[in-house]
């Protein structure tokens, strides 16, 4: 017999997003379980011994473990049930609503945890050398920046004595500094793109201050060495990222550290039938992280890769509180009886909650429900106009980024929830001359914000009051104008 315990809300992942979500759900009155596969809470913050965390949230510069500690103390005092070294083997939807996690742990063996709502705070993983198609040999000494960080900061091991770093993402920059401080010679940081990928402050504090050269439009093409890395070949690339013939040079080193991107971890979301946004690689959500599947909320880096942990915590809070409301109240207006029933019918599996009498779908209702699910999960399903209409039927408003944006999260708003809504966006190119961003509903401009500069590595935050959105709005449009284009 497999043991089972039920909660209102189960949060999966004990990093900054999950910690904040668990606390917020608990504060909203829910019984909360927090599932963490490692032996300690804190997620990746555990190994981030550098400072710079918490400036937005706490107004001070904290080290990663300090930032995590503030939340961990609160979680431990809150009555949230923390399940450490617990791995979610599978998640299934229950007949009648709710979810069951099949868990594995050393202490508990195999057990089940049930909940009315789930918060997925599963974070992200690093892109590897093979995913950026580095070739040559396969010696020891090629590692992602996060792995290098773990070896140095947690295990007390030096991955090499002369390192080359590929990728100017934040972890790569931080590791350039960290390795330098440990006496490793950092030969240089190489970046495929013509602009650095990390935060401006990290470029200054981790490279400039340490005299480490940054080589833009240059990449590592091959690794050499049998047992351990002996050298790498670097080469300049053109604007399309293609190697410029004749620019190859061999650099002696014993270690290659890669900071070439992060990918949201959404295996559980996928196993629940959610589809992912092609740009963010996370599920599409509303302002509370509510996904297309009622009762499943997503936050933090699982949603999109954030630049600051402070924003991760913020999204965790929103998702946790909303999950608690969902679990305690049951589905809201947007996820009414027909809606829930038709989610099951749409192929995600599992029928509606029996306590709500299942309405017999009218003719065409199923097709409309499918369109709605598709619209919330993937806008492309039935064309933009139909998708927007389907969303509007659910009381959802699509948020459409215009040209110049990489993405905006959340992808839609649920107006029935009321209150403020927070957006994050990234520009898709550096704008040095200044820009204006407007958010409007039809002719009504809801928000105008001016920026001295915009850079893709830096996330920008917007907040609006949903009460200001006119009734009947089907779509909000986010527009970007470079300085000087204001009157176009």
């Amino acid at each position: 017999m497999i043991a089972r315990r039920d909660y209102d809300v189960l949060v999966i992942g004990g990093g900054p997003a999950g910690l904040a979500a668990a606390l917020a759900a608990k504060a909203a009155g829910a019984e909360v379980g927090l599932v963490e596969r490692e032996e300690r809470l804190g997620g990746i913050l555990k190994q981030c011994v550098h400072d710079g965390f918490g400036l937005v949230r706490f107004g001070e510069m904290l080290a990663g473990p300090e930032y995590a500690h503030r939340y961990i103390e609160l979680v431990e005092a809150s009555g949230v049930k923390v399940l450490l070294e617990t791995f979610v083997h599978a998640v299934r939807r229950e007949e009648g609503g709710g979810f069951v996690l099949e868990c594995v742990s050393r202490e508990g063996g195999v057990f089940e945890a049930g909940a009315g709502a789930l918060v997925l705070a599963t974070g992200c993983r690093e892109r590897t050398d093979r995913q950026v198609f580095i070739h040559g040999d396969r010696p020891a000494g090629v590692l992602t920046a996060g792995l290098a960080q773990h070896l140095v900061n947690i295990e007390g091991l030096l991955p090499g004595r002369r390192a080359v770093i590929l990728g100017s993402g934040d972890i790569g920059l931080i590791m350039a500094r960290r390795l330098s401080l440990e006496g490793v010679e950092v030969e240089g940081v190489y970046e495929l793109k013509s602009e650095p990928s990390g935060l401006s402050r990290n470029l200054q504090q981790c490279l400039v201050d340490f005299g480490i050269p940054l080589h833009l439009s240059t990449t590592v093409t091959a690794v050499h060495g049998r047992g351990r890395v002996e050298a790498v070949t670097v080469a300049e690339v053109d604007q399309k990222g293609q190697v410029r013939a004749g620019t190859e040079r061999r650099i002696a080193c014993d270690c290659l550290v890669l900071s070439v991107g992060l990918i949201p971890e959404n295996e559980l979301a996928l196993s629940l039938g959610l589809t992912l946004d092609a740009v963010t690689k996370g599920p599409r959500v509303d302002q509370d992280g509510a996904s297309a599947l009622p009762g499943v909320f997503v936050c933090g880096n699982a949603l999109h890769v954030n630049d600051l942990v402070d924003y991760v915590s913020e999204s965790g809070e929103a998702a946790g509180a909303a999950a608690a409301r969902f679990a305690r109240r049951g589905p809201g207006r947007a996820e009414g009886a027909a809606g829930r029933d038709e989610v099951g019918a749409s192929g995600l599996g599992g029928p509606g909650r029996p306590s709500v009498p299942a309405a017999k779908p009218r003719k065409g209702a199923l097709a409309r429900a499918r369109a709605r699910m598709a619209a919330r999960g993937a806008y492309s399903a039935s064309g933009v106009v139909e998708a927007a209409a389907a969303l509007a039927e659910d009381g959802l408003v699509r948020v459409r980024p215009g040209p110049g944006f990489l993405y905006v999260v959340p992808q839609y708003l649920d107006l029935s929830k009321g209150g403020p809504a927070v957006f994050f966006f990234r520009a898709n190119a550096t704008i040095k001359e200044g820009a204006t961003v407007t958010l409007s509903a039809g002719a009504r401009v809801l928000l105008v914000k001016r920026y001295a500069a915009l850079r893709p590595p830096e996330m920008e935050r917007l907040e609006i009051d949903t009460a200001e959105i006119p009734e009947g709005t089907a779509e909000l449009v986010l527009e970007l104008r470079r300085k000087g284009e204001d009157h176009v």
Binding site: R106, V110, G156, G183
Partner: protein, 577 residues
């Protein structure tokens, strides 16, 4: 006459720099040529002249280093003398799937067997660098040893896998027709399959193909279906064969390189190794890409090997749900090439493997990949509309050990009485392995019986107790296993869901893993989409604990591949005060 013809051809291409002569029935090519490609061209040319074998000793000016390659470690890395003076009935050189399968077959006899493997683990080279396909035998040239042993091996794998406790599946292979005209090839295909003795074939209409493979590319015009095509994990199979051999009394010496032989007239008396010299009543040459070197030690180098590199790409296990069979679409030009052309192969773990490519390149252990090969793999990806290269987890290269005749050598030496060759075992070598091993064991026992009586091993245990794979157990059973051994409950590798206990099992098996790669071959941590980004430190900790060594000594793949160079707090400070 044919020798004169060949000499003329050589002169026309390279003047007097290169020459050909006959030596004891083999054709020897000597001298210098400008390029590796020319060396290759002449090798194939020579193979057409009907000699027993081609010994290609041409040195290519653009790859002179290739002529100096040696199997052994540097002299300074030689091991101690732990094997010095020991005597064995059978010494098997090489711990790939062939050597390990042979060792296990030999353990069915009352003979003492030593298997020598120069690397820190078995399946280090070609046996862990292939697509795991158990070919049906259709592609092999009719009448070749490849055709014969492939079909026999294909039949033997299923019961063998059951004995070894490893996965074996028969998804079947679809050879897709590229155009309406190629459909007319069906009778010729069927005739070839019949000639090779392949176990079954069918014509599938385009509609049938679509029904069975909904994601198949639109350009298919039906398929030749081969239901007997199977898959195994090649490295797990090799480890399992070695473990079963060990359980039946075989001694496996890892990190032990054979370096030469002592002969007394027409008999090998000793095999020199980096751990001392051993007496050998019979020697089996299963040395993969070094089999011609081993043959030379016994003055029996009647053939030589050339290397054909192949690159495969592995897709995320999610891709596995998008395809049901092995699929390929040979091009017309493919018919003339030396290989089967590659395709999309399912793996027993649920990934899709794309490849392999084929390129004649120097380097017996040259596994560097290059971008051009990956671009070549794109053509296979297009066979399945649901797949894309963004699903790639990794890619790797392997090197096929090919004779110039492009067939296996499975025979007793004609010059040395106590030497048996399993050489030139390239694809479909994995598929053929059980049949090759049975034949080599038969030949070996026959040879040994000339000097002493050899009896069957009545206590041979065919069944290997495979360690549990927790993620695949029913939940109740899994719960019981964790209750008995809590380390099965601690998940170390999140992508592949591998527990600490399974890693410890891999390190306490009959052939214990001692490095990250060896653990990975057995238990799979780090095989998933994060590629070890998260679990590597955890696995290192368990390895260090099991070996009783400091964390800093943990290696990726044996000595010289340490994961770290020093501990931070004791490290030199790069010249800082």
């Amino acid at each position: 006459l044919s020798l004169e013809k060949l000499r003329a051809a050589i002169r026309a291409r390279c003047g007097d720099e290169a020459a050909a002569r006959e030596d004891r029935g083999s054709l020897v090519l000597e001298g210098r040529v400008a390029t590796w490609a020319m060396r290759t061209e002449l090798g194939f040319l020579a193979a057409r002249e009907g000699f027993r074998g081609v010994v290609n000793d041409l040195v290519a000016a653009d790859a002179e280093w290739a002529a100096r390659e040696a199997p052994g470690p540097e002299a300074s890395a030689a091991g101690g003398g732990s094997l010095e003076g020991l005597a064995f009935d059978m010494v098997v050189i090489g711990g790939g799937v062939i050597g390990c399968a042979i060792a296990r077959e030999l353990s069915k006899w009352r003979v003492s067997v030593l298997l020598l493997e120069k690397e820190e683990d078995v399946a280090f080279h070609a046996s862990s660098r292939n697509d795991g396909m158990i070919h049906d035998g259709f592609a092999a040239k009719p009448g070749s040893l490849k055709a014969k042993y492939n079909v026999l091996g294909n039949r033997l794998w299923e019961p063998l896998a059951r004995e070894l406790g490893i996965d074996f599946e028969r998804p079947g292979a679809l050879v897709l027709f590229a155009n309406a005209a190629s459909k007319a090839l069906y009778p010729a295909f069927a005739a070839r399959a019949a000639m090779n003795g392949v176990d079954g074939w069918e014509y599938w209409s385009p509609r049938r193909v679509r029904a069975e493979e909904p994601n198949v590319a639109a350009g298919q015009h039906g398929a030749f279906f081969l239901p007997s095509a199977g898959i195994v994990s090649p490295y797990r199979a090799t480890v399992a064969l070695a473990e079963s051999a060990i359980a039946n009394g075989v001694r496996v010496e890892l990190s032990t390189c054979a370096t030469g032989m002592a002969l007394d007239k027409d008999r090998i008396t000793r095999v020199m190794t980096t751990k001392g010299s051993v007496r050998a009543a019979l020697v089996v040459n299963a040395a993969g890409n070094w089999a011609d070197t081993v043959a030379a030690w016994a003055d029996d180098r009647f053939f030589s090997l050339h290397q054909r590199r192949g690159t495969d790409m592995i897709l995320d296990p999610r891709a596995g749900a998008l395809q049901n069979h092995i699929m390929s679409m040979p091009s017309v030009t493919q018919a003339k090439s030396k290989t089967k052309g590659g395709g999309l192969v399912r793996t027993v773990e649920g990934n899709i493997l794309v490849g392999p490519t084929a390129a004649e390149l120097p380097g017996r252990e040259a596994y560097a990949t290059d971008p051009g090969e990956l671009r070549e793999l794109e053509k296979h990806l297009r066979l399945n509309r649901a797949l894309s290269s963004s699903m790639a987890i990794t890619y790797f290269a392997g090197v096929r050990a090919c004779t110039w005749e492009e067939d296996f050598i499975i025979e007793r030496s004609t010059r040395v009485r106590n030497l048996v060759h399993a050489a030139g075992i390239q694809s479909p070598g994995l598929a053929s392995a059980p049949a090759i091993a049975a034949e080599i064991a038969r030949l070996s026992v026959e040879a040994l019986s000339e000097t002493r009586k050899v009896a069957p091993n009545a206590s041979f245990i065919a069944r290997r107790e495979a360690p549990p794979e927790l993620r695949r157990l029913p939940l109740e059973e899994r719960a019981r296993a964790i209750a008995a051994n809590p380390s099965y409950g601690r998940i170390v590798c999140r992508c592949e869901e591998i527990s600490e206990g399974e890693i410890r099992d891999a390190m306490s098996s009959p052939l214990p893993a001692r490095s990250l790669d060896a653990v990975k071959r057995r238990a799979r941590p780090g095989m998933g989409r994060c590629h070890g980004g998260f679990c590597t430190p955890r696995v290192m900790e368990i390895i260090a604990d099991e070996l009783g060594s400091p964390l800093v000594a943990v290696t990726k793949k044996g000595e010289g591949s340490e994961m770290a160079v020093a501990e931070t707090k004791t490290a030199e400070r790069g010249g800082r005060p």
